[in-house]
């Protein structure tokens, strides 16, 4: 099974969130970047497990500038066989999706994996777009997946439960917690990753369909009101009369 895994780069989960240029741009000063956790922990690892079981290999794909090579090498250290970087500093999800789809069209992949969303834009947009551009089924929020190489059974999360579906042939799958267990690359993996192929291809660009015009930080809380642990009637009263939430 040959699988394409799309990964993206996001600020570290503990990164300070601040903005510059009149609140129009994320301030990357001192920010450490990581591979988006849903891509790394779930999509990439499940894809590697499937190739270990069924044969074939995992190609890692990132749409981004050369500074992303560090996370691409990490994905190779976890177990990707080779990588492709489509060279652009893309800002909107459509440009990312269009470039992924264009690349995937020229190859044959049995499956395309990505994380359910990025932890910075939280859009859940790219997977569905790639699926539509390639006219493939899309199974989002996969928490379990088994495949025999052609027929796959996937459990996806829905509101208040799960749905189990079966798909024949290639599909796009977005990975959610539960699909796999995070793999920490070992020394051998890190050494091998250095010599694995990383191909850089030019991007197709067009005007962004969506752009961010301004960022704001949410209003700060005014401070905590402490309630006597012996007096829960008082907490209930506050929630009812003051906060008006019950």
């Amino acid at each position: 099974m040959d699988i394409l895994v799309c990964i993206s780069k996001t600020p570290d989960t503990t990164a300070k969130i601040s903005f510059k240029n009149n609140d129009t741009e994320y301030n990357t000063d001192g920010v450490n970047f990581i591979m988006n956790p849903y891509d790394e922990w779930y999509a990439l690892v499940r894809a590697i497990e499937l190739t270990e079981q069924l044969g074939g290999s995992v190609t890692v794909l990132n749409v981004g500038p050369s500074s992303n090579d560090i996370i691409i090498r990490k994905a190779l250290a976890v177990g990707g066989a080779g990588a492709v970087r489509i060279d652009t500093d893309a800002t909107d999800s459509y440009t990312v999706a269009a470039n992924i789809a264009e690349y995937a069209k020229s190859k044959h992949y049995d499956m395309i994996f990505l994380g359910k969303e990025t932890i910075d834009y939280n859009g859940s947009e790219v997977g569905a777009m790639v699926a539509e551009l390639l006219d493939l089924p899309f199974i989002s929020y996969a928490i379990q997946m088994e495949s025999d190489g052609n027929s796959s059974t996937i459990t996806r999360e829905i509101e208040g439960g799960v749905e189990v579906c079966k798909v024949e042939g290639p599909a796009v799958i977005s990975a959610a917690p539960g699909l796999a267990q995070q793999r920490i690359p070992n020394m051998k993996g890190i050494m091998m990753a250095k010599s694995k192929p990383l191909t850089v291809v030019p991007a197709i660009l067009q005007d962004p369909k969506v752009s961010t015009v301004k960022y704001q930080l949410p209003p700060a809380k005014s401070g905590v009101k402490l309630v006597d642990p012996e007096n829960m009637d008082e907490l209930v009263r506050l929630l009812h009369e003051e906060a008006r939430v019950i």
Partner: protein
């Protein structure tokens, strides 16, 4: 020009999030001096009731084949309908289905997509709308630059307005495109409140010591009519299902009330919950970082405080 809103009817019924998007579309259509049209696909009782939320027309697509959820087939019906009714804006719920449809519809309509928005757009100069980013740590205003637009709306972010009146739905049948995906089973826990839509959430962390102690959390949730959630180490240890994991790498929620019990308040946890309207923290450590993000705090042993709170809630409900 018109605004088309797709209203989900899981198991034949609309949900609150469905009424929210109908209200959203109607309010938006009013500011654009046009009509909002609702689209319902598959089984739905009283589809015409959506008129109460301000839509002027309800199109009810009845399909005899029970397709289950297939984004490929559904997105085609929605995009085709948008074309037929000359809609340049399509509104969806930012639900598991909505997220799987939004990107597909945007591609079909060559539209810009703003997903998970939390307010009505400003259409005075272009089309600008706010959405939460960085897992709830910031808010972005995004501009959709294309003539066609797709917007998915986050639950609990717009108030429902039911001051209109019901309409007679226009029934329509469409032949479904062949589908490569087959839904074989759907398991929904009945009676429980799905976490992303819940207005009240009771959440617990590693302070619970083990899964066998979750009875007090479920009792409190039942007394309040709340959904249950947990921190990441709790679901990683399989004390609770992954679907309850909230935070930066779990799900992001914005309920009216979030009660955090035995959770320290790590930055990755706060990221997914700090848009909650009111936060209550119960923790025995007065230095727990969560207190800084809380509206109300109780410093005490959760094994004593939680049952006491449950009794107080029951007493209040019985009044």
């Amino acid at each position: 020009m018109s605004v088309l809103v797709y209203v989900e009817s899981p198991d034949g019924h609309f949900k609150k999030t469905g009424f929210e998007v109908a209200s959203y579309a109607s309010k938006l259509a009013a500011t654009m001096n046009t009509d909002a049209i609702a689209l319902v696909i598959g089984k739905a009782d009283q589809a015409g009731d959506l008129g109460k939320y301000g839509v002027s027309q309800v199109i009810h697509v009845n399909s005899n084949d029970n397709i289950g959820f297939d984004s490929q087939a559904l997105s085609r019906i929605i995009a085709d309908t948008a074309k037929e009714v000359n809609a340049n804006v399509v509104i969806l719920t930012h639900s598991s289905s909505g997220k799987a449809l939004a990107g597909r519809i945007a591609v079909r309509m060559d539209a810009g997509l703003a997903s998970g928005v939390n307010a009505l757009p400003d259409v005075s100069d272009g089309f600008k709308v706010t959405r939460s980013v960085y897992s709830g740590k910031a808010v972005a205003t995004v501009s959709i630059n294309t003539p066609n637009k797709v917007v998915s709306v986050m639950g609990n972010s717009i108030s429902v307005d039911a001051s209109g009146s019901a309409v007679t739905p226009d029934n329509k049948s469409v032949s479904l495109p062949a589908t490569k995906l087959q839904v074989i089973e759907k398991k929904v826990v009945s009676g429980s409140v799905p976490l992303p839509e819940a207005e009240l959430v009771v959440s617990a962390g590693r302070g619970m010591k083990g899964p066998e102690n979750w009875g007090i959390i479920e009792d409190l949730a039942a007394a309040l009519g709340a959904a249950t959630a947990c921190s990441r180490p709790v679901s990683d240890a399989d004390w609770r299902p992954h679907s309850e994991h909230v935070g930066q790498t779990g799900i992001a929620i914005r309920p009216n009330l979030y009660i955090a019990i035995g959770i320290s308040g790590a930055i990755q946890h706060l990221a997914g919950v700090n848009n909650s309207k009111t936060i209550v923290v119960i923790n025995k450590d007065p230095e727990a970082p969560f207190f800084k993000a809380a509206d109300y705090g109780v410093v005490g042993d959760l094994f004593e405080v939680v049952p006491r709170l449950t009794e107080a809630v029951k007493k209040f409900k019985n009044q």
